[in-house]
C-alpha cells in the first residue's frame, strides 16, 4: 500500500492510511526523500495516526527518514502516535531520539513553522 504524499506549500504531508509492511515503509522513506528534492520542501509531516503498531522496524525507519531528510535540508515531524502505540514502544525500549513528535497534524504544522523560521528564509 503506497502512502500518499501531499504537497502543502513548503511542506509535504505523508498520510499513512493503513497498516504498512516493511517494504511499504522503505518505499515511503525513498519517496519522501525524492519529493523533498523535487518540491524543494522545507518540512515533512509523517502522520502515523492510523498505525496500530509501531514496532522496532517501523521505529528505525521513521528515525532514518527524519535523519535523512535533515541531511537534505528539511525538518521532519511525526504526528499522531496513539496512546497504546506509545505505551508499547516504551515497553519495547524504542525511542525516536532526535526526532520531532507532536500530537496531531495541527501541532505538526505549528512545529514546522517554528523550526523552519529559526533558519530564516532567503
Amino acid at each position: 500500500m503506497q502512502v500518499p504524499i501531499l504537497k502543502q506549500g513548503d511542506y509535504l504531508i505523508a498520510l499513512i492510511q493503513s497498516a504498512l509492511t516493511d517494504a511499504d515503509l522503505l518505499r515511503l522513506r525513498d519517496d519522501v526523500a525524492d519529493r523533498v528534492g523535487t518540491f524543494r520542501s522545507r518540512g515533512v509531516i509523517v502522520d502515523v495516526t492510523s498505525l496500530d503498531v509501531i514496532d522496532s522496524f517501523a521505529t528505525r525507519t521513521l528515525s532514518t527518514i527524519a535523519h535523512m531528510l535533515k541531511l537534505r535540508g528539511a525538518e521532519t515531524v511525526i504526528v499522531g502516535i496513539q496512546p497504546d502505540v506509545a505505551f508499547t514502544m516504551v515497553q519495547l525500549g524504542l525511542t525516536l531520539e532526535g526526532v520531532g513528535t507532536v500530537l496531531d497534524l495541527e501541532e505538526g504544522l505549528a512545529y514546522l513553522n517554528r523550526r523552519t523560521k529559526e533558519h530564516g528564509k532567503p
Binding site: V53, S56, F57, T59, L92
Partner: protein
Amino acid sequence: MNGDVLEGSLISIRSDSDIVAARQAGRLLARRIGFMGSDLTFIAAAISEVARNIVEYARHGEIELTLTHRGSATGILVVARDRGPGIADLQKAMEDGYSTGSSLGMGLPGARRLMDEFEITSLPGQGTIVSMRKWRA
C-alpha cells in the same frame, strides 16, 4: 463468526506482508478472547517482532496463535517456529541492543517485556521456537 479464528490459527511466515497478517490475526484473536486496550497492541507488537525475526534470519517459518487456559486463567499462546540457522548465543540474543543482523536488537527482549511468559529454544542449524503467553487481566 469464524470458529477457526476463535480457537486459533496457523500463519505461514515467508515475507514482510505475512508479518502484518500475523499481528493482525493475533490482535483479532486477542480481542475475541477478551483482551482490551493496550494489551491488544502489546500482543500485536510482540508477534510482529518474533515474525520479523523469522523473515530476517530463517526466511520462512510459521506462527501459531491459540487460546490457552491454566486454572481459571484464560490467555493467548503465540508460538513462532522456524527451521533456520538457530541462535548461537541465546543469552546475548535476549539482551537489549544485541543484533547479528541489521535490526535494533530490541525485538526479542522487547517481546519478552510485552508478554507475561516467554520461552525460547534454539539449536544451531536446526531452528528456533519462541513460545509466549499473555494472560487476560
